[in-house]
Symmetry: C2
Subunit: 327 residues, 2 copies
Amino acid sequence: MIHRPPASEEDFLNLIDRHFATAHPHMRLGRGDDCVRLACPQDMVLSTDLFLEDVHFRRSYFSPADIGHKALAVNISDIAGMGCRPLGFSLGLVIPDDPTLTTAFWNDLLGGMGALAHTHDIPLTGGDLSRGPYLGFSVTVWGTPGPTGRVLTRNTCRPGDAILACGPIGLARAGLFALEELGPEAIALVPHAIRAHLRPTPRVADGLALADIPGVHGAMDLSDGLARDLARLTGPGLGADLTLTESALHPDLIAHCTRTGQPALPFAVLGGEDYALIATAAPDSVPDILARIPQATRIGTVAATPGITVNGQPFDHTGFDHFATHE
Amino acid sequence: MIHRPPASEEDFLNLIDRHFATAHPHMRLGRGDDCVRLACPQDMVLSTDLFLEDVHFRRSYFSPADIGHKALAVNISDIAGMGCRPLGFSLGLVIPDDPTLTTAFWNDLLGGMGALAHTHDIPLTGGDLSRGPYLGFSVTVWGTPGPTGRVLTRNTCRPGDAILACGPIGLARAGLFALEELGPEAIALVPHAIRAHLRPTPRVADGLALADIPGVHGAMDLSDGLARDLARLTGPGLGADLTLTESALHPDLIAHCTRTGQPALPFAVLGGEDYALIATAAPDSVPDILARIPQATRIGTVAATPGITVNGQPFDHTGFDHFATHE
């Protein structure tokens, strides 16, 4: 039976119960009623993200466990981007009537999602299953600030603030492009880039640490690449002067750009789906930040005028609008 | 431009801002960051539901405003089914690249959703937009108990408890079947049934009133029809003896069944998508319930053994499993 799809909604729910705890201190009443009942802190943050087949992932090179992991990871990353920790999540699941989506497939997928939920000690509180024409996930995740009660937002910096990044820049984009070009064979070529795309790590500990440092002014998670997200971090009227060297980029990104004959720095700045955190901070707090978050690096300075420069040169590419109609 | 789709994500977000307030006491920080920041009560209930084109609605007979209304209504109904009131909601929106989904279409759709959100004074806190092959909504809604702090759940009744319903039984199913058979022309034939299917009313006030009456033991919202949902309300090991007369059914349901030549009572019991509330209560509290909620009716009694009887006859149909593969 493991080689056939779950036969009924009940079978599917039993499969979910196998991978996600039915009790948790955050749940006063667990899955199976009209709603979950939650024991909540007064201060919460919440986000909903979609993760759709052939828009956000492909079954041709994502393993089932990768799909389950990333569907949840990109959502937890939004909590990390606020400097908070996650508390729980709910799941809307669209399932096509496809014989290859077997019980074994779902075991692996829910196992990947469940492992990440376990890492962060967050319960799946419920959700909805529906038939639909393709595989899709809608995850809503919520969380709460750390002990200081501080939440990190955008639009909170001044010209001259340092811009910092926690996590590699552009590496996931190298993985995506290599996978799109070569399929699973890309894994042998640039394994870290592939992993950055398939298995991003939500940087909850980094976000909590940033929120704990008074000199940090704001933060967000890097989902659309520096070229698009920096203006969102600084807010309108401000810009960013980036100082980046190729030696600071991941070797897999360099390898991908060398193989495909393109300059590495613009590729990294266009980025996308890195789920690194980017933050702004008072310049004099940078040594403290780098001491407390060794994986953080300073990548630039907030500028008094809009736009991005890279090593003094204007950067004009704007990245990709996933929504716009390209005629 | 109103006759063309929104040209960019920014245009779409501006459209959302036109229909949904950007500030609300429940939101400490509104839309536009990685997460919304919420001011929360300690006791919350939360639910996620999908609302997908050609699974849950059809554009051929739902107006844009109907789609927007129902996508949110079925979710608020889950809060009502817990005897709670809604506080806020988030939205995952899948939008196909379809030239007929114009700015005018979205204005009407978001207008329908916004009007219902306004009725319940709940903010749209954020969410996600994505391209996808068909129109789809994932709504997550949360709420909190009324002044007594009581939450109504399932599996909380005893044999001999009264079963009550707030709202028509089976009426929305008559509307669905008439629409599927005749399209929009069905409106002239059975307008109340059509409205029950296209524009269900979440019964928040009824749910809060039920939660306020100590003799009420449990409740849920009726989404899959009595035939499937009664066993969920009573819990395993128990059943329901229903006492229903055709005179208690809505005239539009009778008209539909007469026209299509089928008995009305089984049709009503199979039901589906009524979003009425069903509740169990101590028999001696029924007069109080009927006095305080005049639209409530007693429809039966909890039985000590599983299964449903209707006016003493076993009822064997089980309704439709939206998930199962029908080979």
